[in-house]
């Protein structure tokens, strides 16, 4: 019993650390950007500018990094549980490519604007993600081979990305520009309206993930065991497919395709919490994703003077070493 207390305490400390770190990075994120915050300039006009920068640019950006990173991370964790493989993630499996294809189809073919544009792009992206995830789950069921499915997922991603590329070739210039802007991936393009949508979607999906956390633990034991212990496999698979598709689709449509956060964050979290119990892992991974996204966003705006680094390069530089470390160390055999 004493041992259990100590272990639990360590987990809580680790979790607390993740929460504090994401909060610190959130605040830091508010104070980084091309314009300096005029601390000393306290006249009315100065405060007005400060307010605009803070509430209309910095805060939405920081919040979308917090939510977007967390959402992708959560999606990655659920996929790793579903495919029972530490290398699964929305970007690796081609699910993000499916979302991008859906979003691109709307951006390039029927260029809506404003809320209608945002909602239609998001819906198309979610459908795209859903289609790829369903395909992969069917593939696992048919072949029973997860490694094979992982590789086919990567190939599917390339395939879909190429179709998206060809679609761009035949699109009008305006649409292409807005598509290229979007496809670079950024947390900055978000408006207060779309932010509200993101908050809503992520909150609902997060709660749904928390509800199925015990079922995720059961699923770790393998399908036969999980079934024998009362898990409805079909219901569970569909829950995971729907949650991950909505998260990946919504974030991809709003922030563009962002790589490596989904696959790396669950490992980042396991490193600190040393557990696979999903009721801790789910919130922990969410905060880990937020941490990586906020840090990447800060690093991308470090050069200053209006120059920013491409977000996807930064997330890859942070994420790829984490994944390589997992591969080399053989996390599950340690």
């Amino acid at each position: 019993m004493v041992m259990k207390m100590i272990e639990k305490k360590q987990r809580y400390i680790g979790f607390f650390f993740l929460v504090i770190l994401s909060f610190v990075l959130f605040v830091l994120n508010l104070f980084t950007g091309s314009a300096g915050i005029p601390f000393l300039n306290t006249d009315a006009a100065g405060i007005e500018i400060w307010k605009i920068i803070m509430f209309e640019i910095r805060f939405p950006r920081a919040l979308s990094a917090f939510l977007g990173g967390g959402a992708l991370a959560l999606s990655g964790l659920l996929l790793q549980t579903l495919f029972r493989n530490p290398l699964a993630g929305p970007d690796i499996l081609g699910i993000a490519s499916g979302a991008s294809f859906g979003a691109a189809a709307v951006i390039l073919v029927i260029p809506f604007f404003g809320i209608a544009g945002m909602l239609s792009t998001a819906t198309a992206a979610i459908i795209g993600a859903l289609a790829v995830t369903m395909f992969l789950v069917l593939l696992v069921k048919k072949t029973g081979n997860i490694t094979l499915t992982l590789i086919i997922g990567i190939l599917t991603g390339y395939f879909i990305t190429s179709i998206t590329g060809i679609m761009i070739r035949f699109s009008p210039n305006d649409a292409v520009r807005s598509f290229i802007n979007w496809s670079a991936g950024s947390f900055k393009n978000i408006s207060p309206d779309t932010l509200f949508f993101l908050v809503l979607v992520v909150a609902v999906c997060f709660l749904a993930a928390v509800v199925i956390s015990k079922r995720c633990d059961l699923y770790l034991l393998g399908e036969d065991y999980a079934l024998s212990m009362g898990l409805s496999l079909k219901q569970f698979r569909y829950s995971v497919i729907i949650i991950t598709s909505i998260l990946t689709g919504a974030v991809t449509s709003l922030c563009g395709p962002i790589a490596f956060i989904g696959i790396a964050s669950p490992h980042f979290c396991r490193f600190f919490l040393k557990t696979d119990k999903h009721n801790i892992l789910i919130p922990g991974t969410f905060f880990s994703g937020s941490i990586i996204a906020l840090a990447a966003d800060i690093i991308s705006s470090l050069p200053g003077h209006g120059t920013t680094l491409p977000l996807n390069s930064v997330t890859a530089i942070i994420g790829a070493p984490i994944v390589i470390k997992v591969l080399l160390k053989g996390y599950y055999d340690k």
């Binding site: 509800v211 015990k214 079922r215 770790l220 036969d224 212990m229 009362g230």
Partner: protein, 250 residues
């Protein structure tokens, strides 16, 4: 309730998969607090039969009935949670479970008794501790499951089955990957369980079958299933498994 009661019954089940039938039409009924041992040569379909009658895979045809709350229910009409209150399963290969601890894995056996969120109550932790104590692995409680030996892992999986609190437990070659001392220990443990559980087990261990079973099922290479006591089946055992019983009995 009488001491012996029909707890599991099947009518004319054929096991296998869509394009490949494994065992032929078979009907049976099993009484409570007994041990039924399924033996047969490699590839004869022991595991398929066990997984079918335990409801993990569906029979090609035929019906399986379980006793639940003094009612006889068709397994087709039972959902996974109800089934999980009737029978637990222990498979031959221990699962890979990342960083879950022994206690956490055993407590998962309580899942059928939880609500929509799967949240455990005090009662569930009490049952988990009870299962740990019954198998005698209290000292492993906080260990990470994947760091255990195979023998210890199987004991944990059995404790998890006990936490599931079912009248029926199915074992699919539970000792297949164990060394001899662990095998013997596990056999005794399983035999002991039948005091208040109904055990159905597949095994290659004829010694175990002859020593402990109340009823023996032998699957031959044609997918026919022969049932009876070891004495009644001695000719068939020698014929199908190509062994002389006298040699084993020593």
């Amino acid at each position: 309730m009488t001491n012996k009661q029909m707890i599991l019954e099947a009518k004319n089940i054929i096991t296998g998969y869509k394009d490949k039938k494994v065992t032929k039409g078979f009907s049976f009924s099993i009484n409570s607090n007994s041990i039924t041992v399924i033996i047969g040569p490699n590839g004869s379909g022991k595991t398929t039969l066990l997984k079918t009658i335990s409801g993990i895979i569906k029979p090609v045809s035929g019906n399986i009935f379980y006793l639940f709350n003094n009612d006889i229910l068709d397994s087709d009409k039972m959902n996974s949670v109800t089934l999980a209150k009737v029978r637990a399963v222990v498979l031959s290969k221990p699962p890979e479970t990342g960083n879950l601890t022994v206690f956490e894995i055993i407590s998962l056996g309580r899942f059928p008794y939880t609500g929509w969120r799967g949240k455990f109550l005090q009662q569930d932790y009490v049952e988990t501790e009870k299962a740990l104590a019954e198998i005698g692995i209290g000292d492993l409680s906080n260990r990470i499951f994947r760091t255990l030996s195979d023998g210890e892992k199987q004991k944990v999986m059995i404790a998890r089955a006990l936490a599931q609190n079912t009248p029926l437990i199915f074992f699919d070659e539970p000792a297949a990957f164990l060394d001899l001392p662990s095998k013997i220990e596990l056999s005794k443990l399983i035999a002991n369980l039948s005091k208040n559980k109904t055990v159905i087990i597949t095994t290659h261990d004829i010694d175990f079958a002859l020593n402990y079973c109340n009823e023996l099922w032998i699957i031959d290479t044609d997918g026919n299933i022969h049932t009876g006591t070891p004495e009644q089946l001695s000719n068939i055992i020698e014929d199908i498994l190509k062994v002389k019983l006298g040699e084993i009995r020593v």
